[in-house]
């Protein structure tokens, strides 16, 4: 009984992250459904679940594969991608490096290798080739390395890359952030239901290879069509817009089919990644694992400088999903209170009556 109370107290602390990153600021009307479904499926706070999985899978020198990137104006040019995804990937890469010593290897379409690299640099990680990143971990001079490599659009090539990576590197976890997932027919759909399979790198190939080898996997999304949502495919079928395809089943709808071990649904996919970083920082009790407001600003400005567009407004700028820079900065500012930055929880805790209560609880736990 005491342990139940203890675990629910822990969960309440982490629940706050979930609640913040799922407020429907753009009033898109989808996140409530996605979050409830994911929460029912996993039975505990989503960011906590994801962060614990990553903490268990990764340690110093181990590799985390992070797939992201959405080429979202393919009828114009394959070089155009959106600002939701890359910042989340960079923030989580940074958190996993700072917190666990992991080596992040980010997988994006070859057209956006350069832009993604710029975003990683804005987050503080120097991008080099994967083998070089491994060497940097053991070298004498301080360097915080990461790698950005091309994720093929061709399924077979992506499968070969996955095998190659898993053979060569000590992969401890796989994460997909705002990455289109394949439905049962192997098609990747936009949230509006359009077929965008040809434009995107096939992250499902990497996901499947990781699962086959028991590597823990996490998907982060905001619309229902991203990798990770396969975990709640049945719960979304018929309830999410465009989840049913032309054949009357969910086989060719927007919801992917592959399952992951963890799933984070957030109002903006980037925020889901920030939430996982915050949860990891809380688990490790290291505020520095979560990026700062200043870094957030640098990252979003780097996105704009690199030509990423806001997928909703279509403008190049430091906004994401139609939400201006300030909104993202304010969100990060509030997330930072969860790592005791800007909040004096000690003052509440140190009230004499509360100290007595805590001491009594500790006594109970000891028994």
């Amino acid at each position: 009984m005491p342990s139940d109370t203890a675990s629910s107290a822990v969960e309440r602390r982490f629940e706050r992250i979930d609640r913040l990153v799922t407020i429907d600021f753009p009033r898109r009307g989808v996140i409530g459904l996605l979050y409830e479904a994911a929460r029912e499926e996993l039975g505990r706070p989503l960011c906590l679940h994801a962060a614990e999985m990553l903490k268990n899978g990764l340690s110093a020198g181990r590799v985390v594969l992070i797939a992201t990137g959405w080429l979202d104006r393919p009828h114009v040019s394959l070089s155009i991608a959106e600002t939701d995804g890359p910042p989340g990937a960079a923030v989580l890469a940074r958190a996993l490096h700072v917190g666990l010593g992991a080596i992040p290897v980010v997988l994006v379409e070859e057209e956006i290798l350069g832009p993604m690299t710029s975003v990683m640099h804005a987050a503080g990680l120097r991008c080099v080739a994967p083998d070089e990143a491994l060497m940097a971990a053991g070298g004498s001079g301080a360097l915080h390395p990461a790698s950005v490599i091309a994720l093929p659009k061709e399924r077979r090539e992506a499968e070969r890359l996955a095998v190659n990576l898993l053979d060569r590197l000590d992969v401890g976890a796989f994460v997909a952030i705002e990455k289109g997932g394949e439905n049962r027919r192997g098609r990747i759909r936009t949230s509006r239901g359009a077929d965008t399979t040809d434009a995107l790198g096939k992250a499902d190939a990497v996901l499947e290879a990781c699962r086959a080898r028991g590597v823990p996997t996490l998907g982060i999304g905001d619309g229902g069509n991203e990798i990770g949502m396969g975990l709640i495919h049945e719960r979304l079928a018929g309830r999410l817009r465009n989840s049913i395809g032309s054949d009357g089943t969910s086989d060719d709808g927007v919801v992917p089919v592959n399952r992951t071990d963890a799933l984070v649904a957030a109002t903006v996919s980037n925020w889901g990644a920030y939430g996982v970083a915050a949860a990891l920082a809380m688990l490790l009790d290291r505020p520095g694992v979560l990026h700062t407001v200043e870094t957030e600003q640098r990252i979003l400005e780097a996105c704009a400088a690199a030509g990423f567009i806001d997928g909703v407004t279509g403008y190049v700028g430091p906004s994401a999903d139609g939400l201006s820079l300030d909104v993202h900065l304010n969100l990060v500012r509030l997330l930072r209170t969860f790592v005791n930055d800007g909040v004096n929880t000690a003052a509440w805790r140190n009230y004499p009556d509360r100290l007595e209560k805590l001491a009594a609880e500790r006594g109970k736990d000891a028994r």
Binding site: D24, V312, T345
Partner: protein, 356 residues
């Protein structure tokens, strides 16, 4: 008026506001309990219900806003906290800008100087009540508020309440972070200590407003404030210090018509302003981050303390100035500022119609 409300309104905005106000950033472990209990009882977003009641106020009517907590009485009764007055100023501004109402603040005498400076920081000139009333006329082009001293003596408070309601046209009453009497006639701090003598008494005013059908709203964060006794005093059994063994329990006896429990009482005021902005489709009803920082600085200059840490800095309730500014920024976003008009596939056309 009625026709507007016939079709089921989209309440997602108010759900978002409620959610943002009720995340337990400081880990005080009250808000989860209080919000859930009241939300279950009222059934709809709490900021929506309160804003809807407030929106019934007519131009030129008074909106009475009671606040102020003298919270180190053992040291000196001049010491009061910044949580409350800032939210009250935001609401004063909101009802003036949004409704053309005359905001009248009720605070303990010694808090009046601080309240003046905060209202000035918020854009409202403090005037005597007769002059403040002139400013309800938009052609006067003057943003103003009035302040009345709130008596700590029960009979003086009763007398003031009767006179006010007899002489003035009062459209609504709001209490924000305002202690109220428990069933034993004592006003308590949130952890059960008695502070009855130092608190301006507003219970009679609330009772008389309700008798006259004037909508009353209570905003609080600890369980001991006016409004927290709502839903039949349900918090009495849910909060640790609601237990009568603590000097009769912290939960007030007098109920208000509506309640907004928030993580920080000021935020409840901001949330109500944001909800009113949403309801009236006028984002300028909600104050901005620069104004927020100015008000917190004014609180500091006037010696109001952070009630948790005991410092006169710009923090409030143990949370730094930046945290309050971030909350204000996000509420402004919800109220319609800083959000590009978006054509999400899942959303019906009603929202774009929301925007002018």
């Amino acid at each position: 008026m009625l026709a507007e409300r016939q079709d089921t309104p989209d309440l997602s905005l108010y759900e978002c506001i409620d959610r943002l106000l009720s995340i337990d950033f400081p880990e005080r472990e009250v808000i989860d309990i209080a919000y859930r209990a009241f939300r279950e009882y009222y059934g709809l977003p709490l900021t929506y219900l309160a804003a809807r009641a407030l929106a019934s106020v007519e131009r030129g009517q008074l909106v009475l806003i009671a606040t102020g907590f003298v919270n180190r009485p053992k040291v000196d009764t001049i010491i009061a906290e910044s949580d409350g007055p800032v939210g009250a100023a935001v609401l004063a501004r909101a009802v003036h800008v949004g409704l053309g109402a005359v905001p009248v603040l009720l605070v303990e005498e010694q808090i009046i100087p601080a309240m003046i400076r905060i209202l000035h920081s918020c854009g409202l000139r403090v005037l005597d009540l007769p002059n403040a009333k002139k400013c309800a006329d938009p052609s006067v082009t003057m943003d103003a508020a009035a302040i009345l001293a709130s008596p700590t003596d029960w009979s003086a408070a009763e007398e003031q309440a009767r006179t006010l309601l007899h002489q003035e046209s009062v459209g609504a009453f709001i209490a924000i972070e305002k202690g109220a009497s428990n069933p034993q006639g004592e006003i308590l701090f949130s952890r059960g200590r008695i502070c009855t003598p130092t608190v301006g008494k507003i219970d009679p005013l609330v009772r008389l407003c309700r008798e006259r059908g004037i909508p009353t709203i209570g905003i609080g964060d600890g369980g001991n404030e006016m409004g927290m006794g709502n839903a039949g005093g349900i918090l009495r059994t849910l909060l640790e210090y609601g237990d009568p063994k603590y000097n009769g329990g912290i939960v007030p006896a007098q109920e208000t018509d509506y309640v907004i429990p928030a993580t920080v009482s000021n935020w409840g005021g901001y949330g109500l302003a944001a909800a009113l902005a949403g309801l009236l489709r006028n984002p300028s009803i909600m104050h901005d981050e620069a104004t927020e920082r100015r008000m917190l600085a004014a609180s500091s200059f006037e010696g109001l303390i952070d009630g948790v840490t005991g410092t006169t800095g710009t923090s409030s309730d143990g949370l730094s100035e930046d945290v309050h500014a971030a909350i204000v920024g996000l509420l402004r976003t919800l109220a319609g500022d800083g959000l590009d008009d978006i054509d999400w596939p899942g959303r019906d056309a009603s929202r774009s119609g929301d925007r002018s």
